[in-house]
């Protein structure tokens, strides 16, 4: 019986029904998943990759931040993996151990295995086919590691395999339900990794092509393509819209700070991005990565599967689903070629490890192709053969780092010092993690965090660049709401303009290419007498604020400023109030000023103790926070003055601030075209209430 015959004859069976085999597959996978997790957890290897720490921190920031909310998910990475961490990330131990992210990964792994089994079974019309695909997938040691850690690969594989499965069912049965299910899984894929975006046109082409070929009806093909595309592309479109609204740039993820392409640019600067523009290097690099990740024996089986597919002429639509599974891998190759991402494999030049886990995206497709010969032979011997091959592949993988070692890549020395595990027996992605863990500055980070934990005894606010210092923030173990970092408005902007406005500490990597504090604020800090360098090692500098800020720096938006304001001067107030405070403004700019917004805050030293609202007039928003009052002063021409008498009612926080506290009155023009046009502040000194 030919494969075609098998497929044609058996495909009408209700193969999608859940039976004991699905339950067995799920249980076996869950056991493998649990064992692997237990092993890597006991070895302390769950958090080897910097991205894992970043993802955990991003999820954590949704709850634990100066500015909590979903906006903390950012746009650098699609949000799904981090969103799935939310239910557990708020529990401190689950955050620090990474388990909050491991659990969704493991669940996705089990789901992927079940879907892969179902797909293999459907494509080969043989349970054995499903079993082979499943076995290849579940015994892959790299996969077993990646499913245990808080990374996005496991989830990505689930979305693409599930989408491929439902598409395969739809191609056979044409039930709308499966088309919609496939579209929703593709939608999940786009929300998991950017590689998933390529599934949208890939699967849409299959849907359109199939409908056109079968019905020769353009309207029908167009309708079904829309039925697929509307949900499938929905997430990506919304993501672009979101990026536009939040950051004013729909493609921020592609060229914003911290995005892969931006990092790849850094590589290019150093001449390390050899794959860009070179098809040979790209193919070799990715090819070697796949060989190292999947293992040569399995690839040989897959080659046999491809031959089977060609020779027996598997129906085009079955082939299409297999091709669709390869799409994310193809996207990775294209991204390498165009220099949008970077990937280094020990077998290619330069021999090193970086992002080798991209190779795992090819695993499901290879597992399915490797299962295709099962359409021809339905003997248990095949299973034994596959089991044997998988075992060989497994051993090959475990031994791989040793061979890397001989090529001059030090994957093991750091591990040998720090972990009591047989270092040579690690799969590629673990070896990479270990290698980079060692090569990166974890030791420095640990040293810095240790010093910092000792000296930050009063838990004061810290200025840091989260883009470059996820590891510091993770190891320091402090609540993330203690930090001021990128995107937290207004604190971040205030700090960039006047370091020390909010923060007591500044943690910076002076040579960090991505460290925004180093790039933007370090000169201000270094030269300022208000800061002293409290700690320094080969990577980190930690500055401490020792004196209150002087006059704030000139508005950053000076060139766009409509007018400048000057206050009349300081006033001293005595007693419990309320006080009438006369404030005079002078327009020292060259243009007419309009209405003025006043904000009032209690300061003590350089710290804001509180912000107090005036409590009269219309509430107005200062940087999105209620805190100012709009005063209508009419038009004030250049050189003109305006006077306002404020009735200031001291609030509890004011009194509690005690002697020496000051009330800062800030003013800005109501014209919000330039957000940085905050005017000079005047201060009203508080004296203790007279008896």
């Amino acid at each position: 019986m030919s494969a075609v015959g098998n497929i044609a004859r058996r495909s009408t069976e209700p193969l999608h029904r859940t039976g004991w085999d699905f339950i067995a597959v799920a249980l076996a996978t869950a056991v493998a998943s649990g064992l692997s997790f237990a092993y890597y957890r006991s070895a302390g290897l769950l958090l080897l990759h910097g991205d894992a720490l970043s993802r955990l921190n991003i999820a954590r920031r949704v709850f634990d931040s100066l500015d909590p909310g979903l906006v903390q998910l950012g746009v650098i990475w699609p949000p799904a993996p981090q969103v799935l961490m939310l239910p557990l990330i708020w529990v401190d131990p689950l955050w620090h151990s990474g388990i909050a992210g491991s659990i969704p990964s493991m669940a996705a792994f089990v789901g992927t295995a079940v879907y892969l089994y179902a797909l293999g079974r459907r494509l080969t019309a043989n349970k054995l086919g499903g079993a082979v695909a499943w076995l290849v997938f579940v015994t892959n040691p790299n996969m077993l590691y990646l499913q245990a850690v808080p990374l996005s690969e496991s989830l990505m594989l689930l979305t693409m395999v599930a989408a491929a499965y439902h598409l395969a069912v739809w191609l056979q049965a044409e039930k709308s339900f499966h088309l919609i299910a496939a579209a929703l899984w593709v939608l999940s894929g786009t929300m998991t990794r950017y590689e998933g975006w390529a599934l949208v046109p890939g699967a849409a082409l299959i849907v359109t092509g199939f409908t056109l070929a079968r019905y020769r009806d353009r309207r029908r093909a167009e309708a079904l393509a829309l039925m697929f595309l509307v949900p499938a592309a929905f997430g990506a479109l919304l993501w672009l819209l979101y990026s536009t609204i939040i950051l004013g740039d729909p493609l921020y993820f592609a060229h914003g700070l911290g995005a892969s392409p931006a990092q790849a640019k850094d590589f290019a600067k150093n001449g390390a991005l050899l794959t860009k523009g070179s098809l040979t290097r790209t193919t070799l690099t990715y090819g070697w990565t796949v060989v190292d990740i999947v293992g040569l024996p399995v690839l040989c089986m897959a080659a046999l599967g491809i031959v089977t597919m060609m020779a027996r002429r598997v129906p085009l639509r079955q082939g299409a689903v297999v091709v669709m599974l390869f799409v994310p891998a193809l996207v990775t190759i294209a991204s390498l070629y165009f220099g949008a991402i970077f990937l280094l494999d020990p077998h290619s030049k330069p021999a090193a490890f970086l992002s080798t886990r991209y190779g795992i995206l090819a695993l499901p497709a290879i597992a399915i192709v490797a299962a295709l010969p099962a359409a021809l032979h339905r003997h248990a011997a095949v299973v034994l053969l596959v089991a044997g091959v998988s075992f060989v592949a497994f051993s090959y993988q475990l031994g791989a780092p040793l061979s890397f070692h001989s090529r001059g890549v030090d994957a093991t020395s750091w591990l040998a010092v720090n972990y009591p595990v047989p270092a040579g027996l690690q799969p590629l992605v673990v070896a990479e993690g270990l290698h980079n863990y060692n090569a990166s500055n974890v030791a420095s980070a640990l040293e810095a965090t240790a010093w910092f934990r000792r000296n930050n005894d009063r838990r004061r606010r810290i200025l840091i660049s989260a883009l470059a210092n996820d590891d510091f923030m993770f190891y320091a173990g402090l609540p993330l709401r203690d930090y001021v970092f990128e995107g937290q408005q207004p604190y971040w902007d205030d700090e960039m303009r006047a370091p020390g406005t909010w923060a007591k500490w500044v943690v910076v990597q002076p040579n960090g290419a991505r460290d925004q504090v180093a790039l933007k604020a370090l000169p201000l800090i270094k030269d300022s007498p208000r800061f002293r360098l409290a700690f320094e090692n080969d990577q980190y500098q930690i500055y401490e604020l020792v004196r209150p800020p002087l006059a704030p720096p000139a508005p950053a938006c000076a060139d766009r400023q409509l007018a400048a304001l000057q206050f009349a001067g300081d006033q001293a107030l005595h007693g419990a109030g309320p006080f009438d405070v006369a404030v005079a403004f002078k327009n020292s700019g060259a243009q007419t000023a309009h209405d003025i917004v006043l904000g009032l805050a209690v300061t003590r030293g350089s710290q804001y103790v509180s912000r107090i609202d005036f409590g009269n007039g219309q509430p107005w928003l200062v940087d999105g926070q209620p805190g100012g009052t709009l005063y209508r002063v009419g038009d004030v021409g250049p050189g003109g003055t305006a006077r306002i008498t404020l009735r200031v009612a001291p609030a509890a926080a004011w009194s509690a601030a005690g002697a020496g506290a000051r009330v800062a009155i800030e003013a800005r023009f109501a014209d919000l075209s330039c957000l940085d046009d905050r005017a000079t502040a005047t201060t009203v000194t508080l004296a203790p209430a007279s008896p």
Partner: protein, 787 residues
């Protein structure tokens, strides 16, 4: 053994072999061999004679000499000549040389052998062999043919009169089911004579005039049949008062008109001879002796309408409101509801005055939450319809297997008001229905002030199963009142409603019958799907089609699948007539009487199922007309919700939690959406264009998340559901237009405000929708009206 053979002393040898006396020898041999093989296999199941008799028959008929001799004795048993065969044209049995008792196998054998026969055709072979085979090999066609054949040959051939006995037995069994067991023997005065005497002469050369009931279905269709001269309606002196003590439903079902009662004799007019037994039973029940005459059906129906006119006038207008005032929309708000509304408004007003911002935030949050919950429910329902739709699965083989003789009588209620222009299209649609004409009871429900339609109906050439009813003037002038009137006069076991512009798929009635037979006893309504025949006429009709497709092809099957009450669609809902009468018919004061009835059915514990049969209507193609129609529906939904929410606890008890919530989310939820959409869209537009800070104040972070979800996921899901509806209905061209359906929702909002205005000002006013604007609809107003 065939009933027609009983009573014969010596078996007829031809009959044993199911053959015609003219059967050629070759046919005799083939059929004998076939029957013998079958008898040997013992699978004849009592159809054939024993082996021994077959052998004997063949022994005689296969030998020309013996056969000649046998034919001679057969021709004159006791010296009497066999009467000539009935002059029935076409006689397919004779053409194939077989007896009417022959089964399909023998038909095939006979056809094969007769086709080989190259000799010139005999004069009795009027029918082509192919026709004969086509009719006789298919048991449904054959059943219809047999019925006609039996009737056509009844008078001429006593041998076939046996078939009549069969029919009588069926009638008897039917009456027994009704608890009206009537004596099989005719009463002393002999009604058969009465039939023969009173029956109008059949039009010459037209077999259809012989018996209404036995006329082949095809002959009754307007297209193929020459116009039947309308029977003169003779004035009938009826009893005059409906207090004769006779059960009205029996009178109506059997079309029996009480004429007068004198000295213990009740004079009754019937329309079909087989109803005589019922008439006798009726008379006996009131202690009278029946004197029966047969009248034309129209005469009897006219008489019944006149007899019950006064009673009906009251019943259709006020019956529902008087019997169940709590469920009548005659009163829009009850005092309790008024107080509740006043309290709610007062609380809102106080909130706005005392704490403006928190009150507004609460309002925004509540609206957003309700919108989200109803969106989620809608998604659940659509998912249900994709995975386990509440549709009774019916395939063609089941329809083919229906015995048309055993089909129930079906009443079609057709309310007409100012529909003269689409009348012809309606008649065409009804004529296309695949249902035996003698089992149809079509009620044209006409309004007394609608001279135009009345004239058109009078001029139209209506088949005999049409019945014109002029709806009493009293009470609200509305479709439900007309339907109630039709229901009072419905003869059918089942009834359904079609609007004037409807074109139901021909198999719909049969599908409904099968669906009732297949589904549980608690199914009280079968709803067919509605869609449009002019979907591509313009943008509005495309959107309307997308809207209808998602409603009827996704949403309603999902609701029924989930076991929730469904607001019925305006037409093509099929009911058991008795149940509908028991429930109390339609509320004449509710302008969406269909949605109201759906909920009332559910409240009484009845379920509704769907069938995959479509009634095509005319989509409103003009904006003004569409807005009026839609505002009418929205007003009706509001009325229905108010009526059923008079006692929310009671509603909860009646429907259960799921049913209760479903009514809130489908009836109130959809209306709410029309009003909420513009407000929230405007808030978002304001926020994104001018960044008005008040908008931000109204949306604290959690509310903002919910609102974002509602805006993107909720709205987009609804757009997608509309697209999915188009695909389900295979309206592929409409999918891309469905992407723009939010514009259509904006139109709904306009209607909704108009509806709200009307609910306050004239809650029971019936917005008339103009039909006949589609180019496809024949009989439109004028060429320019189609624009």
């Amino acid at each position: 053994m065939d009933a027609r053979e009983e009573g014969l002393d010596t078996p007829d040898l031809y009959r044993l072999l199911h053959l015609h006396p003219d059967a050629p020898r070759e046919l005799v041999t083939e059929v004998y061999l076939h029957l013998r093989a079958r008898a040997a296999r013992h699978d004849a199941a009592g159809r054939d004679a024993p082996l021994r008799e077959l052998d004997a028959a063949y022994h005689v008929l296969a030998d020309p000499q013996r056969r000649l001799a046998y034919d001679a004795t057969r021709a004159a048993p006791g010296g009497q000549p066999v009467p000539p065969p009935p002059a029935v044209r076409p006689d397919y049995y004779a053409a194939l040389r077989i007896a009417p008792s022959a089964d399909a196998d023998i038909v095939e054998i006979a056809y094969t052998i007769r086709s080989r026969d190259r000799r010139p055709r005999a004069p009795q072979d009027g029918a082509s062999l192919a026709d004969a085979r086509r009719v006789l090999a298919n048991r449904h066609r054959r059943a219809a043919y047999d019925a006609w054949f039996a009737a056509a040959s009844l008078d001429g051939h006593p041998e076939l009169a046996a078939a009549r006995a069969d029919d009588e037995r069926i009638v008897h069994a039917f009456l027994s089911d009704f608890g009206l067991a009537a004596p099989m023997d005719p009463p002393a005065d002999g009604w058969i004579d009465g039939v023969v005497r009173d029956r109008p002469e059949p039009p010459a050369g037209d077999g259809a005039g012989l018996a209404d009931g036995a006329a082949p279905r095809r002959a009754a269709r307007g297209r193929t049949r020459p116009a039947a001269a309308p029977a003169p309606v003779r004035p009938v002196e009826s009893v005059g008062r409906p207090d004769h003590g006779l059960a009205r439903d029996v009178l109506v079902t059997h079309s029996i008109l009480p004429l007068r009662r004198e000295n213990g004799t009740l004079e009754l007019a019937i329309t079909r001879p087989e109803d005589a037994a019922v008439a006798h039973a009726l008379a006996r029940d009131v202690g009278a002796r029946a004197r029966i005459s047969v009248e034309d059906r129209r005469v009897v129906q006219e008489g019944l309408a006149r007899l019950y006119h006064a009673e009906d006038q009251r019943e259709v207008a006020w019956g529902h409101a008087e019997r169940s005032p709590a469920l009548s929309a005659r009163r829009v708000l009850t005092p309790g509801q008024m107080i509740a509304a006043a309290l709610l408004l007062a609380a809102l007003g106080a909130g706005l005055v005392l704490a403006l911002v928190p009150t507004l935030i609460t309002l925004v949050a509540l609206c957003t939450a309700f919108y989200l919950v109803s969106s989620a429910y809608k998604m659940f329902v659509v998912l249900t319809s994709l995975t386990r739709p509440g549709e009774v699965p019916i395939d063609q083989s089941e329809i083919d297997a229906l015995d048309e003789r055993a089909l129930p009588t079906y009443t079609l209620l057709l309310p007409l008001y100012r529909e003269a222009n689409v009348l012809q299209s309606l008649l065409t649609g009804i004529a296309a229905l695949d249902y035996p004409a003698d089992k149809l009871d079509v009620k044209l429900l006409l309004e007394p002030d609608d001279a135009e339609t009345l004239a058109a109906v009078n001029e139209a050439d209506l088949p005999s199963f049409y019945h014109k009813l002029i709806v009493p003037r009293d009470g609200p002038k509305a479709k439900p009142k007309a339907l109630n009137y039709g229901l009072l006069h419905a003869r059918g076991e089942y009834c359904t409603i079609y609007d004037a512009e409807d074109r139901p798929e021909p198999d719909q009635l049969k599908k409904a019958v099968i669906a009732f037979r297949k589904s549980s006893d608690r199914v009280g309504c079968i709803q067919a799907k509605l869609n449009f025949y002019n979907r591509d006429q313009n943008m509005l009709t495309r959107w309307f089609t997308a809207d209808y497709s998602q409603w009827f092809d996704l949403y309603l099957p999902g609701l029924t699948g989930a076991g929730a009450p469904i607001p019925l669609g305006g037409t093509s809902n099929h009911f058991p007539t008795a149940l509908l009468r028991e429930i109390g018919g339609w509320d004449p004061y509710n302008v969406t009487e269909d949605a109201d009835l759906g909920i009332r059915l559910a409240r009484s514990g009845w379920k509704t199922a769907m069938i995959d049969s479509v009634t095509y209507e005319e989509a409103n193609s003009r904006l003004g007309n569409w807005l009026r129609q839609r505002s009418h529906w929205i007003k009706g939904y509001m009325l229905t919700w108010l009526v059923h929410m008079r006692n929310p606890l009671r509603l909860w008890r009646d429907l259960g939690t799921h049913g209760f919530l479903s009514v809130q989310l489908t009836v109130a939820g959809s209306v709410f959406g029309y009003f909420a959409n513009p407000v929230f869209w405007a808030l978002i537009a304001v926020w994104y264009t001018v960044h008005w800070s008040v908008v931000q104040t109204l949306y604290p972070t959690p509310v903002l998340y919910l609102a974002t979800l509602a805006l993107f996921v909720g709205n987009c899901t609804f757009v997608y559901v509309a697209m999915a509806g188009c695909v389900k209905r295979e309206f592929y061209g409409g999918v891309k237009y469905a992407l723009l359906i939010p514009l259509y929702w904006s139109l709904m909002t306009v209607s909704a405000f108009h509806a709200l205005y009307q609910l306050v000002r004239k809650p029971h006013y019936w917005e008339k929708t103009v039909h006949g604007l589609a180019p496809e609809a024949p009989g439109r107003l004028s060429p320019e009206a189609a624009g």
